[in-house]
Subunit: 238 residues, 2 copies
Amino acid sequence: MNEKPFSVVLVSGGMDSLVCAGIAVAESRRCAFLHANYGQRTERRELESFHRIADFYNIKERLLVDLNYLKHIGGSALTDTSIEVPPGELERKEIPPTYVPFRNAHFLSIATSWAEVLGAGRIYIGAVEEDSSGYPDCRGSFYRAFEGAIKEGTRPTTQIEIITPLIHMKKAEIVRKGAELGVPFELSWSCYRDGGVACGRCDSCLLRLRGFIEAGMEDPIPYETVDILQKTSEEEGP
Amino acid sequence: MNEKPFSVVLVSGGMDSLVCAGIAVAESRRCAFLHANYGQRTERRELESFHRIADFYNIKERLLVDLNYLKHIGGSALTDTSIEVPPGELERKEIPPTYVPFRNAHFLSIATSWAEVLGAGRIYIGAVEEDSSGYPDCRGSFYRAFEGAIKEGTRPTTQIEIITPLIHMKKAEIVRKGAELGVPFELSWSCYRDGGVACGRCDSCLLRLRGFIEAGMEDPIPYETVDILQKTSEEEGP
């Protein structure tokens, strides 16, 4: 098939999902954007980013889903406010408390159901394996395994591929790719805390900031502080 | 490990899930029951059955989740009232319109997140492959593939098996197994239509009724009609 695909794109509103969306839009004839609220701290802010990004790409088909049961299940600092979001630590070895157990499987299940009904052949998700917080559901092997489950669990005529364009990218490469595609970085929200401006201290902020610094670019969004990263940058260089 | 497992059990409230629950309770040291509403026609009736079954087994840990987004995604006669539930047809070759696209993946994702937080090592689901309506997400191969996704997408220390005790059973064997375990058949609800009593005509009723007839037992729940099955039974014998 030489025709460009019809794709369902998971868009959280963060930087990775924004760049992933930019790639999906470039590679597809038609895109449908999917966003999940799951009782995460930054739900409202992420949803706002989702809509602004979808507006930017002129996406008509949008699905918003509410997985508030993930908050009831708990077990994560992102959905349980009694568990503190730790300060960012880029050399962390264990899985951090911000891991939401098996979260991405929920997102993929919804994307698959929607893709099967719409007749879309691809699901794009901006998961990053190496230069990330080490969540198990962000590993390439998980996506390959899940693709196997899709093949076995949908109609025989349904063909759905999971595309993870960022999976092996470093954050700096993601920033460069986004710049090359002209993605609207200023519309995205990556911070794990729900402040007026990004905190500049959580894992997600640190990873993003390091990406921009290493790419030699300036992040257009404001931060409460960028001290740690500037220090790291001075010490280690790009 | 010789200790009996701690298990999460998916309980819709239908006969298969009831017998599966009976097996899980017998095999586990502790069970947590999970039920999903997903905008299906018989939501209210199924939830009532779920609680009555959980009460019967004295289950304290219950999780109710609301997947009403499956109704928005649509594509199934079970969630979209503009698509008619067809009369039952036991020799059907294609996948019937009651198929809810990739539904069981949603159930398994939730069960996995919950099991990972609780520390449960097993997920029981009463899927039936052969003597069923032919849904792709009821095939054994789907469960094996999904188990692979769980292995890759959860913490390295998490070990979760999916147990499908009914997968290769005929309906009559399920009825016999339930009788052997003393499950409360009268508390379960299988009908796809939302009437005061089960319709006796949809796929789900026909499969259940044929199971009881072939097992030489009487189904304790009332039906609007059982004409078709009694006819089939007279023609074909048990």
